[in-house]
Structure formats: structure tokens, C-alpha cells
């Protein structure tokens, strides 16, 4: 994995922003919002293999 990591402060910001955005998305549109976000993040990541690894990680312990 890339060395680039979020600082604790950044992580806290992401945490709050994600929660706010999920609340902004209408009921029933949250899944759609998350999939869009995932696709945008994959594009920003620019690495299909790494995205696969992240996908597997996210599937753990659901």
C-alpha cells in the first residue's frame, strides 16, 4: 500500500464529513451515494488492484 496516510485530524474530518454527507443524502439514496463515492475514490486512486484490496477489506466483519 501507498505510504500516504491520513493524519488523525484528517481522519476525524473525513469521519464527520462522511457522516454529514450520509445524512444529507435522502433516505433510500444512501447506498447510491456511497457507490458514487467509491467510484470517484477509485478514479482518484488510479489503481484497480489497490481498489480490489480495499473492497475485500471492506467486506470483512460486516
Amino acid at each position: 500500500m501507498d505510504n500516504k496516510q491520513l493524519t488523525i485530524t484528517d481522519l476525524e474530518t473525513v469521519y464527520d464529513q462522511l457522516a454529514d454527507a450520509l445524512d444529507q443524502a435522502a433516505e433510500g439514496k444512501r447506498e447510491l451515494f456511497l457507490v458514487k463515492l467509491a467510484l470517484l475514490s477509485a478514479q482518484a486512486l488510479g489503481d484497480a488492484e489497490q481498489f480490489m484490496t480495499l473492497t475485500r477489506t471492506a467486506l470483512l466483519d460486516l
Binding site: 447506498e31 447510491l32 457507490v35 458514487k36 467509491a38 470517484l40 478514479q43
Partner: protein, 566 residues
Amino acid sequence: MHTPLAEPRRSIYFDYQVYPAHTASVNAAQVERRPVVIVGAGPIGLTTALDLARYGIPSIVLEAERQVSEGSRAIVFTRRSLEILQQVGVAEQVTAAGLGWRFGNSFYRNQRVFRMEAPHDADDRFPPMTNLQQPCLEQFLVDACQANPLIELRWGNKVTALVQAGDYATLDIDTPVGDYRLEANWVIAADGARSAIRGLLGLQLEGAAYEGRFVIADIKIELDLPTERLAYFDPNWNPGNTVLMHREPGNIWRIDYQLPRDETPEQALSADSLRERINAQLAIVGVQNPQWELDWCSVYSARALTLPKYIHDRVIFTGDAAHLLPIFGVRGANTGFQDCHDLGWKLALTIKGVAGPGLLASYSAERVGAAREIIAEAGKSTRFMTPPTPGHCLVRDAVLSLSLTQEFVRPLYHWRTSRPHDYVDSALNCKGDDNGLYTSGPHQGAPLLNIRLGDDQFLFDCLGASFYLLYFTDANEVPGDIQAQVQALREQGVPLQVLAVTGNRQGAISGADGVIDDHSGHLRSKYGARAGSAYLVRPDQHVCARWQQLGGQALRAAIVTALGNE
């Protein structure tokens, strides 16, 4: 007793002709044995008959019905199909009656999110796509078959049984006045999606059937829209589903739309349901209170299936009898034309005793390979058009939503159309040529590239039922060793023509059957060739060898390979 429909089918744009059933063979004293019997007079059976006749091979075509097919069915024909139809002599009629086009548009929430442009090179005679209703195309083929003394078209003849024995098969045929028997050294099963022959041999198709079902409706209406493909994703009147529109000749429009999951075909085809949905779709393209008349409607499901083998002793499968392909990439009929064009020369040369043992077998290998590739590719567009699972639905919907503002997802709308198949791994390709040294031009296995030679003259116009050697030269004669091998091969019965591509305005070239003036160097540069270079082309226009400097022995070896001797 077989009783095919005796009244002409109804159509707004096409006058059906009902042909008399062939009954003369019923009660015949003897059972006839024919070299080739083709079962099914759909586009593929008819094209196969015409293709074989070019090599002098006679055939009987048995058709259960007494008229051409009902409804528009396949309406989009690719450039490669037109090139094949040109070989069998009907491309001019198809082009004159059809509508050429090259743009495809995808819409989401009233915004055009993707526009596809199919390339059209000045060197191409035919547009990337031509729209024409299937019965019109079939009629041109029927007319050509009936004008051909080598082809006997037997209407109202339905095959009901088939038994194979040694080097022939016996067919039982039912007609309106009783049945008869016919023997054939080769049976070509071109009897369509519900192939009776496939059933009689107990063969199973392999692959996947998709969930999505589509209504296909043809309406007559004047719409001020160009001939382009229109795809509407998730329209307000049909949430989550996809709608397609195509212009057909004669102010006929094809509207295809997906059925809601829980609806039956009967419900979907009810007059009220059709009217309401077609009007809702017409409203999207800006027509209020539309006036239209329904020509034909049907329900179609997306399937991606193939037989794993197309040759079973003396029975050869082709077209929809061999495979069922999703229609989204216009693959049904267009794939079938490539099948039968691959088969025609191989069967003809096998019957004539010129072919090696592997030639006919290569038909199955090449075309099953093509079908599997198409199935893999078609699966991608099918999964986007009709997402098969909740996960696919979510990701597809996310892409639709993103596509309004995000360029990077838009290529996912790309509609992977039927392409000419490249037989890159074919056993018929030459092993020891210079294919890998070329940096341009059609590679081994690919179809030849068309080239404009004059105002209304193209390279493909010069081709016929033969191997062709395109020999690039600045001299006045084809080298003696090449000429000698060409001569020897012809004496063995190999159809082989030499076309000299001249760089010096040389008039006649000794040892060449035809001369293509290329003093502009255009053909040479597109083919990456120089003086002494050569391309060897199979009778189906696929390249099987190319050399930077050709010698006679190399030519012989390549032909031996291309005839299935390895």
C-alpha cells in the same frame, strides 16, 4: 401434415409474397441424394446457398414457411455484413433500400451523456451501419437464390427427422400434401434459434440467459430525427430500465424497452400498455399527441449461448441454430453472415477434394471462438443495459448519476458493436511469413481493409470466390517462381488469382490476373508494403499470410497451410 401459413403476413411497409409449396417430391419413386441440403431460408441459409453457388456447388434450401420472416427482427447490418453481402451479390440493393448511419447517443435525465462515433474512412464503400428490415433483406436474398440455377428453394418443406449414416444424412420432410425423404452428403442446419436439427441431434447450447426481457415495437410515424442510435437510461416512464430507438426505412421506428421484472409478455404486449409506453417515450423525444400506427411487436430476451462444436459428422450448424447472441450489439444476424461466409469456401473446397483434412474443422474452431469472444464482450454491455443483480443495479445507477458531470465514467456507455472477427490464432494462418514485421496493414486473421480505387471503385469490388495474392510490384511481370507455383496450384484445383498492385503506372503485368494502379502509393502505404511485398487472402477476405519479399516456395507453403493440411 405440415400446414404453413398460406395468407401473406401483414405489414405496413412490406408486401409479403406467398410462394407455392414444393410437393413434387412426395411419392417420388426414388430418394434423391444431393451434395448439400440447407435447412432454413433465413438470412443465413440463403446467404450460404449463394456463397456455395459461387464455387459451383449446387444446393437445396428447405424452408418450413412459404414466405419470408415476420416483423422487422434484425434491422442493423454492419459494414462487414455488407461486404459479405456484396460477395453474394445483394449489397447494392441493401444499400439502396437501407439507411446508413454512424452515431450512437446515450441519454440520462434528458442529458446526452455519451456520443459514439463509428469511424468512416474514405476508403470504405459501406457505412459502419445500415438499417433495413429483415424481411426486405431476405427478399433480396430469395430473389438472388431463385435467379440462380444452382439453388433450389423448396418452400413449405419442414424437416421432421434426421438420421446420419456414414458419409450422408437422411432427412424426413413434411409438406402440405404429405412427406418425403431426401439424402444429403452435407446438411447445413440454418434453421434458427429454435433449431429443429439441434433438437433432433440432442445437442445443448452452453452459456447464460439474462434476466432482462425487451418489448420490440415497430411503429410508423414521421419523426424529424436523424438515423442514429438513441438509448435512454432510466427514463421517467420506465424507472431503472433502458429504452432504445432506431430509424428504419419507410418512416418506421423501432422502439425497444425493457419490461418491468414482474410483468408477463402478454401484459406488456396489450394494446393499452403499448400505447401508453410508446407515447411516454415519444414525449421524451419531444412529440406530444403523437399519431402512429403499430406494424409489429414482440418480446425478446437476451441470451448468450453457443454450441461448443458446429460440425457433427455430416451436419453443420450456422447462424442462430449454432448460437444465440444478445441483440444489443446487433450481433444476431451480423454474426451469422460471418459464420456462413467462413463456411462457404471451406465446404466448397472440401466437396471439390481440394481441401486438406483440417479445413472444414477450422470452421468450427474459428466460429466457436468468435462466438465465445462475442459472448464475453456482449456480456459487458448486457450487464450495463440490464443489470442482473442488486449489486450491478447499484453500480450502474451510480455510473448513470456520475455521468451527468464526470467524464471518466462515460465510456462505460460504449455500445460494443459487432466487429469483424480476427482469426489471429487460426490454424490456417502461415507460420513462417513476415506478419510480425509489418507495422501497418491488415494482420494475419483480420479481414482485408477496403481501399478506394476510383470514384465508385473499391478493392473489395475486385474480389470473388478465390484466394487472392495481392502482389506489390514496380516491374512488368510477376517473378517466374511465383508464376510457376500459381500455375501448379491452379492445376490442383486451387482457386487463386493474382492481383498486381503497381507503383509505376505499368499497364499490363504478365503473370497477373488483374492490375490495380497504385501510383499514388495509397494502397502501399496503408498496407505497409513495398515492391516485392505480398498479401495472401483467403476466399472469405481474411488475410492468412503476408510477406515483405515473396518467393514461390513460400506462397505454396502458405496455401498448403491455408487449405487445412497441418
